[in-house]
């Protein structure tokens, strides 16, 4: 009797969390967590196109740190991630504020949000093609056509500023992520608070700063960290836009890992690059975590 009672208590305490979490946990463990472990193991092998698990110790890491391009790639990664992240978060926030707070008319807000979603909705290849077509250094590039009409010399913007292009192209896509999440979060703020703030004399700036931003603390933190990690690991658009060039001018660590693993099929080496990437990511995440005062935002359940 006592035992069954204890069991039912146990079940109650753990039953629901277990039930709610188990699909998530199983999926994540099997298809995320285990692969991650495999990747780490893989990074100690010289696996190549033959897909053989030949353990070579730290050789891949040694190669990586001897790589003459590593400093450039790291710098690129840093620049790319920090600027794109800035655009993603700040611009996403701006868009969300503009389209949900300032523009109260639903249809207009929707129009602008839809426009900003377009880059994310278009197939990456086509999105990149648009960029290439617009900024093509030939006189057939859309911008250059216009410049030609106005009697201006053609620009070589993509060649001269590959990183800027990469950052902008990615920034626009990332901004829509923030925009959607922030918009939804802004709409979740009880209307009462806006009323109270207005009555308390708050202007737009103060409402944004003191009401909206604190309410968005979680989403902002989440979007920042998530985007940070996404950017660290993203290579797709760079691959299509500049393929890391010219030279290594726009190569980032993730792209490098991709090149190594899937262009040259050095899987072991690619895994090692990923592991280094993750190490960097963890450090940055923990820093951001502290910066946002994550522990403080987290509050416990209010049902015993």
């Amino acid at each position: 009797m006592e035992k069954t009672h204890r069991f039912s208590l146990y079940l109650r305490k753990w039953g629901l969390p277990a039930f709610m979490l188990s699909p998530f946990m199983i999926l994540v463990t099997v298809f995320y967590f285990l692969p991650v472990i495999l990747i780490v193991v893989l990074s100690f092998t010289s696996m190549g196109s033959a897909m053989r698990w030949d353990f070579v110790g730290f050789q891949n890491y040694r190669f990586l740190f001897e790589d003459p391009n590593l400093p450039t790639i790291l710098t690129n990664t840093l620049i790319y991630v920090s600027f794109t992240l800035g655009i993603n978060v700040l611009f996403g926030l701006t868009l969300a504020l503009l389209t949900t707070y300032f523009i109260q008319k639903e249809s207009i807000g929707l129009f602008f949000r839809t426009i900003w979603m377009l880059p994310r909705m278009s197939p990456p290849v086509v999105y990149v093609l648009l960029w290439l077509w617009f900024f093509d250094p030939s006189s057939y590039g859309v911008l250059n056509s216009i410049r030609e009409l106005m009697g201006l010399p053609p620009t070589m913007w993509l060649v001269n500023q590959p990183m800027t292009a990469v950052i902008l192209a990615n920034g626009l896509i990332g901004a829509s992520f923030g925009m959607i999440i922030f918009s939804a979060a802004i709409k979740s703020i009880p209307q009462d608070l806006f009323k109270a703030a207005k009555v308390d004399g708050a202007g737009h700036w103060s409402i944004i700063k003191d009401i909206i931003l604190p309410a968005l603390r979680w989403p902002i933190m989440f979007v920042t960290i998530w985007q940070l990690l996404s950017l660290l690991t993203s290579y797709e658009y760079i691959l299509l836009l500049t393929n890391g060039g010219p030279g290594f001018d726009s190569t980032v660590l993730a792209l490098y890992s991709y090149h190594k693993a899937f262009q040259f099929f050095e899987f072991g080496y690619g895994a090692a690059v990923s592991v280094v990437l993750v190490a960097v990511a963890i450090v940055l995440t923990v820093m951001l975590w502290k910066l946002f005062g994550m522990q403080k935002i987290e509050r416990g359940a209010r049902i015993d």
């Binding site: 190549g48 196109s49 033959a50 897909m51 190669f63 001897e66 790589d67 003459p68 391009n69 093609l129 290439l132 077509w133 093509d136 250094p137 030939s138 057939y140 590039g141 053609p154 070589m156 993509l158 060649v159 590959p162 500049t242 393929n243 060039g245 010219p246 030279g247 290594f248 090149h259 899937f262 262009q263 040259f264 099929f265």
Partner: protein
Amino acid sequence: GCSTDEDAAGNESAGQENEAVEVVTITAQAPSPETTRVDNLVRAAEMLNEELEKEGQNIRIEVETQMFEGSWEDYYRQFMLAFQSGKEPDIYVASHANTGWLADGGYIQPLDELKESEAYADVYPVLWDAVTYKGHVWGAIQDTEARPVFYNKNILREMGWSEEEIESLPEKVKNGEFTLDDLLRVAEEAVSSGAAKYGILHRPVNGPDFQVMLYNFGGQLYDPEENKIVFDKEAVLKQLSFFHEIAQKNLIPEGLLSMEWSNIHSMVVNGEVLFYFGGIWNIYNWGQDDFHKELGKVDPEWVMENFGMMLYPAAEEGGQPITLSHPFAYFVSSNAEHKDLIIRLLEHVIHPDLQTIHNVETYHLPVTESAAEHPDYKANITLGDIAYMTEYTTFLPNHEGYEPYSNAVFKAIEAVQLGRQTPEEALEALEVQLKNDLRDQLTILE
């Protein structure tokens, strides 16, 4: 065992009742879009089945085909994974350049028998090199293509060339009378005279074409003895200098290496460029979209009226002109059973009729002499006259290390064209890069 008696008696149905016909399914996969590569296998299977029937064998072949859409890398990766789980196709269609890793990884089996096979007897000898690796033949050559230099006849006319001079240009090139220096000179002239906006145009992204120049300057990419990629510094320097020079002289548009393909096509079709280092399939391209400002889509007839195609001129007077191709081959998985049947299938698939279907439909060149003589092929306005190019063709190494090599070289070309490095500086940097990327797979030829 086969019973001719039964066959003679025409008692087919009875025979089938006695001995059920075994159907062997052979799977084949090719990358999009050229379905003819695998469709030809189906056709070949029909031929083979007829033959088997005649032989009275109780075995028939069925080819299951599959196309892959995606990048090359995705295609290779998929094959690797499929192989690991035993789900790979029996016949894997890929470019010859993959021979090395496919063989090294144990993915495919040698097909040395084919070299002795009668069906493959009139394969252009040079093409065997493309699928030979470590002394074995690993693939059945499937097709090849031509990467000619297009020249704009109108521009030459404007520069005062006579019609005859224009038409004989390919011949002169072939004979080594018109050299690379001539090409540069004419291009320069065209630009300075205003007849053309640009003298030369080459592909804007990395690709095999860039290595044509290396071969042209007598360079070497691969050492089959040692099975290593060769860094031929002298030739590479010349190669880099060439690309440096055309940029320096403004023969090519600024920023060419970051342009988009469609704009390249536009420039060529609209007659802004004298020489275009292209591919035969471009003719097809130009009929797909409205690249021409007035005419829109242009058909092959128009192209042949306005453009000529020639080999890459030799680097020196009297030298050998050159081109490069990227032949495709059928590879056979090392897990494939019924190798004998597959070999027989491959012997059928090289039939000139089948080749021609593929060549005409997809702008490829034949791999056998008999196919080059096929009437349908010869009748083709664009292809008919360039079959000769196969004889001048060169290939990329089919060693795995070529991929990083070509990448590094492309970056070096980029650097010199953008004026960031002199060819010498670029060469030095390239050496460092190659050593890092290829490590023990590289030999350096000073």
